[in-house]
Structure formats: C-alpha cells, structure tokens
Symmetry: C2
Subunit: 278 residues, 2 copies
C-alpha cells in the first residue's frame, strides 16, 4: 500500500522541477541546524505563501550530490499563478538552487511514489589537471585505466537484478522516517524491503577535448538504492583499473553483500539527471 | 625606483602560473584568520620545502574574483625540479587552486614589477535563468539592455586615459603595505600616485546558446587600478541600460571622481585572464 500525498479540500497539488549545486548543502533532506535543499525550499515557500509544506522529493540526494532536474511535490492552499510561484521562489532561493518549472498537478501526484523511472549521471574528469571551476562537479580520476572495460561492466547491470551488494549499509537511514536506506519508487514500508531494481540503460560516453576529457556514465532505472549509482561507478572503476574483472560482477551481484563490491565514488561527480512520470 | 625581488645567494627565483576559483577565498592577499589564495600558497610551500616565502602576485584579486592564469613569484633555497614542485603543490592545495606551471626564472624577475600587460575578462549571463553550476562564475544581468551600446562604450576606453573616476576610493588600501589602492606595474611609491593607464584593447564578445548566452568583456592594458575593471563594466551596463549615454564617458573620465562613474559590478563575474612579461 503506497502513501499518497494527502491533499485537503481547497488545497492544490504542486510539482516543482529543480536544479541545484549540491556542494554547499547537507543533501536534500531537511535536518536540524543543517543547510539542506528541502529546508531551503520549505523556508522560501513559507516566506512567499505563509504556508510551509515540506516538499517531497523524488528521492533524497546526499551531501554534495547535484541535480539537473529533481522533482518535488507539495500542497498549497494559497491560489497563485505557476509563473509567479516560480519567479518568487527563484527570488528567495540561493543562486545554487533554481526552480526550472512550477506547475499544478491532479490530486494524488507524489514526486516519489508517482515516479516511473529515474536517470542519474556520473561525471569523471580524465585530463591531466582538473580546472578549479570544474572541481565541484566531477570526480578527477587520474589513474591509468582501460576505458573499454567501463563499457563492458556498465552493460552487465542492464536488466532486473538484486542490487543488495551495491546498497549502502545504512542502519541509521533504515529506521528514520519509516524509510529504508533504499530510495526509489519500490517502497512498500513492509519489514522486508526489496533490493531488486530494473535498470533500463547503463552506458558511458566521452565528452570534451583532449586536455579536458570527461567520461560520463548515464544510468536509467525504475529506482535506485541508497549510494547505488556511486557504488556501481566505484566498482566499474575497479574493473577499468584492473582490480576486478568484468566477469566478477555476476558474483558480486550474487553475493548480496556490500563488501563484495568496489568503493563508493565521491558525491561531487553525481547528478540526478531526470525523473519520469506517466 | 622599483623594488625587485631580493634573491639571496643560493636562492632560486620561481614563477608560478595559477588558476583559481575565488568564491571561497577572501581574495589573493594574505590576511590574519582569513582564507586567501596567497596564504594557501605560502602554507603549501612551507609544508613542501620547509621554507615559507610570501609569493608575490602580479596583482591582488579581490574576494570572489577568479583567475585563469595569475602569476606569482618567490625565491627558494631548496633545489627541486619544477615538475616536482608543481605536482607537490597541486597535492597540497585545495582543488579550487591549481598550479598550471612552475618554472625557475633569472634573478630579478618579479610577478608584479616585471609585468608588461594584463588581461581581465568579465562574464555576464544573459539567459532567462542562470544554471546553479554557473552562478559562481557570472553576473546574471537579466535587465533589458541595448547590447550594441556595450560595444560602443568599450571602444572609448582604448588608449591612455586618467582612470581616476574608475578607481576604488580605498583609504585603507592606500596606506597598507606601502601600496596604493592602485595595482599594476606603474607603482613608484611616491606620494602622488598616477591613475593614468593605457588600455590596449577593450571589447565584448557573445558566447553560448540562446538559453545560456554569455556576454564576455575582455580588456588588456599596461595596468589596472583597484576595482577598475568592475567599475568599467558597471558603467558600461548603465550605458547599455540607458541610464548613461556613450558620449557621457568622456565627461566621466574628465571628472576624476568615483561618483561620476557607474556602480561596481559584482566580483563573481571577474577573471584575471593572463599576465604578460617581456
């Protein structure tokens, strides 16, 4: 049974699409005495409308993780034209958070529960020296590696798999707010939480010039576990570096143990690219 | 009489070329209890060589101002291959400061006194909404303006002029460290400091896509007064906005008064582009 956004009579459901530079935030989720994206958004809404609904994100992003198009939903009593709400929010929010779109939605829309697919991007800098203006947005990975093995490893994740080995072991998160360390649409709030996810596409592309080359991993799936993309990337880098073989990945998936997989790649290279709805 | 870098016997003069994101620094110049680029560099040199010379910059950059190729000079006793010093510095410095080049120089080389020309760039964002990943590096100027008048105004500054009206009124800076608020090569440490500078080129170019258009001002001269580029840009924007006419600029130069010129454009759009030596 899924929770839906409780929209009281006279309230309107809203959907915001947001871009943010996650560097200076302690992640998406509101926390006491910490600067978070959700907290900044709630505070800006309060100053504009006098109401302070807690916007629900399509998923939490960790400290330092960026978003090109995060989606948030909430309900407001105040009648306000969408263009005005967008403009007012961009006036109150710091320049590191921008509202790309604001629109009203039918009752029952929920940024997380209504999502059908999400896409993440992970950016790796491969030049000799990472320009200071790029350092917040890439993982500067300067070690020699066999880039062809990245492609081979990425292909293995496509399909339905149990990604338990790639999920953060998060005892804290798993009890907080009735959610598991797992984020994504497949949350049923039962005791046993599934770590099975379907990956629709998973591939690397190359961008930029010889001096400023970037490797960009894009992965689209029906949901992602906490730290899953960063753990997939850390493991693929171990494959490209020669610490693991591509054929080891099947065994890592089967192990259902975080310690079987590679390290967690740094937050700064990760972007929530987009969220899809029906 | 110009001061030169005092290189003691057995010392080697060094030249570093640096790029930095100025956002998180209180400018170039070392200050007690503040994070500055010069301070970070001195500290890194101390940790690597055991010597802590104060690197002399080609000029100070203010808090929030960036550099694509700032130049610094200092002397070291420790013999160390240039490539090793560069690598070691990049290992100790934060990712927001990069040493692009390290090389030894003949005695007497001084980053500021030996400079023959400097180029600055000022970047203005003209799209509807400034992406959060660009916000630290541009001035998002969304007002309607006549961009053609920017070009007209920029051309007027070429040549030798008294830029007194475009210099910060800096009583504090003018007594500190025997330097005036004026920076650039033309510093004679006499009582009367010249505010005459020669501008070799001054022009705007357009970059980017329709959604993400940038106007970039590039100015090259034999020296620049404190805040001069930001005050030139602020004044040109007033012209483009219609608050001033291009033909007012001659009168502003003649007035020799800061209050005659336009406002100081924000630091975040300014980049020290390059420094030239004979």
């Amino acid at each position: 049974m899924r929770e839906t956004l409780q929209t009281a009579p006279g309230q309107q459901t809203w959907k915001l699409t947001l871009a943010y530079d996650g560097t200076d935030f302690r992640g998406w989720q509101v926390q006491p005495r910490e600067r978070t994206v959700q907290g900044e958004l709630q505070s800006a809404l309060g100053r504009i409308t006098g109401e302070s609904p807690l916007p629900q994100g399509s998923g939490r992003t960790d400290a330092g993780v960026h978003a090109l198009a995060q989606v948030a939903s909430f309900a407001l009593r105040a009648p306000i034209p969408a263009a005005n709400l967008q403009r007012a929010l961009n006036g109150k929010l710091p320049a590191s958070i921008r509202v790309l779109e604001a629109r009203t939605m039918p009752d029952g829309f929920h940024a997380r529960h209504s999502a059908t697919a999400k896409t993440y991007e992970y950016r790796i800098f491969r030049g000799k020296m990472c320009p200071p203006f790029l350092a917040r947005y890439v993982y500067a990975y300067t070690w020699p590696m066999d880039e062809g093995r990245l492609d081979e490893a990425a292909g293995i994740f496509v399909g339905e798999h149990d990604f338990h080995s790639f999920a953060a072991t998060d005892p804290d998160l798993s009890t907080r707010h009735g959610e598991s360390g797992i984020e994504g649409q497949v949350q049923d709030h039962s005791e046993e939480r599934s770590t099975i996810r379907t990956i629709f596409s998973s591939a690397w592309t190359r961008h930029g010039t010889e001096d400023c080359e970037q490797l960009v991993y894009r992965v689209r799936g029906n949901g992602f576990l906490h730290h899953m993309v960063r753990n997939l990337v850390g493991t693929m880098l171990d494959v490209a570096r020669g610490y693991l073989r591509p054929e080891d990945i099947a065994g890592i998936l089967a192990a259902r143990s975080r310690s079987a997989a590679g390290p967690t790649a740094p937050a700064r290279g990760l972007f929530l690219h987009s969220v899809e709805y029906e």
